[in-house]
């Protein structure tokens, strides 16, 4: 075998002829025939027929106005499901289903139930199928779903501003201070940035999984998160390699950090908006304050790589907007049009983006350590890393509940 491969190089046809294409069609045609046979006759498997399995999942519940509950249902079972009746708090109530209360596999329907829900109280919705199987969903505390209005739009925007833009802006304001630091101290700050990013990567991964687990089964949420994260990481590495092996510019690294943090903050905004819209959380001052404190270190991280080379005010503005702005966008999206699939995808992209900058900032730490004549992992960098993790971990106490 090994001798043949070197001598007989297979000829490479430049174009595929029509006949070649026809060959490619043969398996497909046979597949079609096989499928038709199975559908038409059952393929001789009638003895294996088991009782029907019905499965649906509730995607989204909203309370558009008094006396109305709107429930979006996805059929993630193996076959069509009909939902003839709907109970709320152990009582049958009238409803309308759009487009139909018979939902095909992978299909969805919106049930509008005439139920006088009570503000701030809990309600349980139970969908009952034609075979009498029940699927329950709990509204933890009924809050009227925010309807898009200019003032609400502005208020959600304000929340995003406090959670995203303000802390990052404040963090970046340490830039002049950082410029006056010794190389050793700066190496500490860079290591701290790595710690911060590792914390964010892990947090984003956990958030993504939380959304992924609630997705209809067919989405295969967790593999989806892993693959999107890996593809993002790979793509970003590929993009930085396009520059023909040249070193990444410090400003480029800052932008990629800002992008990763931006995607993380988008997820944070989504969670805040969605939690409010579904009555799961109150937007208290304490919580907002917590996010501001928690996110302030992110600004330090963005500014750290460009300490030796001031890129000018314009770039600082852009960096802050890139990292903080998505929080505003996320809050809008979460509050008005929450989509768990989209949320999972955004967060998965965020994981990849953050991992990529962990790698790049890590290289900066290594380079700076080498310049100081020290190994990459020394007590200074290690304590920087630890400090980054600790700051993020401890300030998270304010926002985790």
């Amino acid at each position: 075998m090994s001798t043949q491969t070197t001598t007989a190089t297979p000829t490479e046809p430049k174009h595929l002829s029509g006949a070649a294409w026809a060959l490619a069609l043969v398996p497909l045609l046979l597949l079609g025939a096989m499928l038709s046979y199975l559908v038409a006759t059952g393929g001789g498997l009638t003895q294996l027929a088991s009782p029907p399995v019905e499965k649906v999942s509730v995607q989204r519940v909203s309370l558009p106005k008094a006396g109305i509950i709107s429930v979006e249902v996805v059929n993630d079972g193996p076959q069509e499901v009909t939902i003839p009746q709907v109970r709320v708090d152990d009582a049958y109530f009238m409803f309308k289903a759009e487009p139909s209360n018979t939902i095909p596999r992978l299909g969805r329907a919106v049930f509008t139930i005439n139920y006088p829900w009570v503000a701030a109280e809990s309600h349980t919705i139970s969908l009952i199928t034609s075979l009498g199987v029940t699927f329950d969903h709990q509204i933890e505390a009924a809050v009227q779903s925010p309807l898009p209005s200019l003032s609400l739009f502005a208020q959600f925007g304000l929340v995003g501003l406090y959670v995203g833009i303000v802390p990052i802006f404040l963090g970046v304001l340490w830039y002049p201070f950082m410029r006056r630091l010794s190389s050793g101290a700066m190496n500490f700050i860079l290591a701290l940035t790595v710690g911060l990013l590792v914390f964010l990567a892990l947090g984003t991964w956990l958030d993504a999984n939380e959304f992924a687990q609630d997705l209809p089964t067919f989405w295969q949420g967790i593999p989806m998160v892993i693959f999107i994260g890996l593809i993002t990481l790979g793509s970003l590495i590929a993009v930085s390699s396009v520059r023909g092996g040249r070193e990444s510019t410090p400003l480029g690294i800052s932008y990629r950090i800002a992008l990763g943090i931006g995607l993380h903050n988008l997820g944070e905004g989504l969670a805040i908006g969605a939690a409010f819209a579904t009555g799961k959380a109150a937007l208290g001052t304490f919580l907002i304050l917590g996010f501001t404190l928690h996110n302030i270190t992110e600004g330090v991280g963005i500014a750290a790589p460009i300490v030796r080379q001031n890129p000018g005010l314009k770039h600082f503005v852009l960096l802050v907007l890139l990292a903080g702005g998505p929080a505003i966008f996320g809050t809008w999206l979460g509050g008005f049009a929450f989509d768990p699939v989209l949320a999972t995808i955004f967060l998965a992209v965020g994981i990849g983006a953050i991992l990529q900058v962990v790698w790049e900032v890590g290289k900066l730490v290594a380079k700076d350590s080498a310049r100081l004549g020290k190994p990459t992992i020394n007590w200074l960098t290690l304590s920087g890393l630890g400090a980054g993790l600790a700051i993020m971990y401890l300030t998270a106490f304010l926002v985790k509940f």
């Binding site: 009746q85 304000l158 929340v159």
Partner: protein, 375 residues
């Protein structure tokens, strides 16, 4: 309205004065404002008595093979003959089987039935009659017929005593004298008992006193329920099986006439059931084994599983009168109906509304009479 803003899910830090707190507060006020009384949707189905709190749609009774409205008055007197000693013999043929029953619009329950209906046939006789039940099991599981009444242990229809459980494809003859008079029931007693009952194997067993009862418009109501997801809790409650059926089709009655209800509770899993009549009071004969009421002037009675009794009352005024379990949960899960009390001249119209005919009226009013029993 104001108490909504100070809800128990109070916003952390509300009142601190920071903008974010104000954001939360104003969002909440908006929600509270939206709950004004005029915003509630008024039922498009104005005919429904309970506003929006109802099952949606109709059951296909033809497909089920029985109509709960007709079961109210469907007395089964059996094949009547006279034994050599002069005793009346009533012979019944009853078979158990598996059948899918639409117990509420669109919800199909894998039931076990006597004679293809739930409840099974209402066996009606007079005290002292000889009852002979030719029972055949066409189902997929062993079944029995266990009657409430005086009988010897061989006729008790319980596993391990006498003939015990009747296997699929087998048959047995239950025979005993009707005693004592009253409102009784029968049900399957095969193991596991819980499942054999809640799957639908039960029916009414009414023994009239020798002297008869005062002529009245009579109904048999079996309070039952179905555990459709088999979690030992019921999803649908009803009288005569179909949830909210008598709310959709109010039962026609005449103002001033005596109404008699044979009421039986067979609901599984829940310890008690009850019957409450709106706007009126009734006399109650516990188990129906006395000729004098055991309770006078009540509007609600309570029954445990297997408990039963007779209700007697008259409607004073025309109108729609609700009756339901005064266990609100059961009411809203299907056990609620209406009487449509009308003046005699409007009765034909009321019958039409309930989708029944003169034959139904005859059966309702002649249930305990000699003519009916010799039909």
């Amino acid at each position: 309205m104001s108490d909504s803003t100070i809800s128990r899910r109070k916003f952390i830090g509300l009142g601190v004065g920071a903008t974010a707190g104000v954001v939360g507060a104003s969002l909440m006020t908006q929600a509270a404002r939206a709950q004004g009384p005029n915003d509630y949707p008024q039922g498009e189905h104005s005919g429904h008595v309970n506003g929006m709190g109802m099952l949606v749609g109709k059951v296909d009774h033809a497909r089920n093979g029985f109509d709960p409205m007709r079961l109210l008055v469907d007395w089964d007197y059996g094949m009547v003959s006279t034994l050599p000693g002069g005793q009346t013999l009533r012979e019944y043929t009853i078979s158990a089987g598996d059948q899918e029953v639409e117990i509420a619009p669109g919800i199909f329950f894998p039931a076990w039935t006597y004679n293809g209906r739930i409840p099974g046939p209402t066996i009606r006789c007079t005290e002292g009659d000889r009852i002979r039940i030719n029972f055949a099991n066409f189902g997929t599981h062993p079944h029995t017929m266990h009657f409430h009444g005086f009988h010897s242990s061989e006729m008790d229809g319980v596993p391990g005593v006498g003939r015990g459980e009747i296997n699929p494809g087998e048959s047995f003859v239950y025979e005993f004298d009707a005693d004592p008079f009253g409102c009784h029931l029968y049900h399957c007693h095969a193991a596991p008992l819980k499942r054999h009952i809640h799957k639908g194997l039960y029916g009414a067993f009414i023994i009239d006193p020798k002297a008869g009862r005062t002529p009245a418009r009579e109904f048999v109501m079996m309070m039952n329920a179905f555990d459709t997801n088999f979690d030992s809790g019921n999803e649908i409650y009803a009288v005569n099986t179909i949830g909210h059926e008598f709310a959709r089709r109010p039962i026609p009655v005449k103002v001033g006439e005596l109404i008699r209800i044979y009421l039986i509770n067979i609901v599984e899993f829940d310890p008690i059931n009850s019957f409450h009549l709106h706007g009126h009071f009734f006399d109650y004969y516990d188990t129906g084994t006395t000729l004098q009421p055991t309770l006078r002037m009540v509007d609600t009675i309570m029954q445990g599983q297997g408990q039963r009794g007779i209700l007697e009352f008259k409607f004073r005024w025309p109108g729609q009168y609700m009756f339901h379990a005064h266990i609100s949960e059961f009411t809203e899960l299907g056990w609620m109906g209406m009487f449509n009390a009308v003046a005699p001249e409007k009765f034909g119209e009321a019958l039409k509304l309930a989708e029944v005919d003169d034959e139904w009226d005859t059966k309702a009013t002649k249930g305990s009479t000699v003519e009916a029993q010799s039909l």
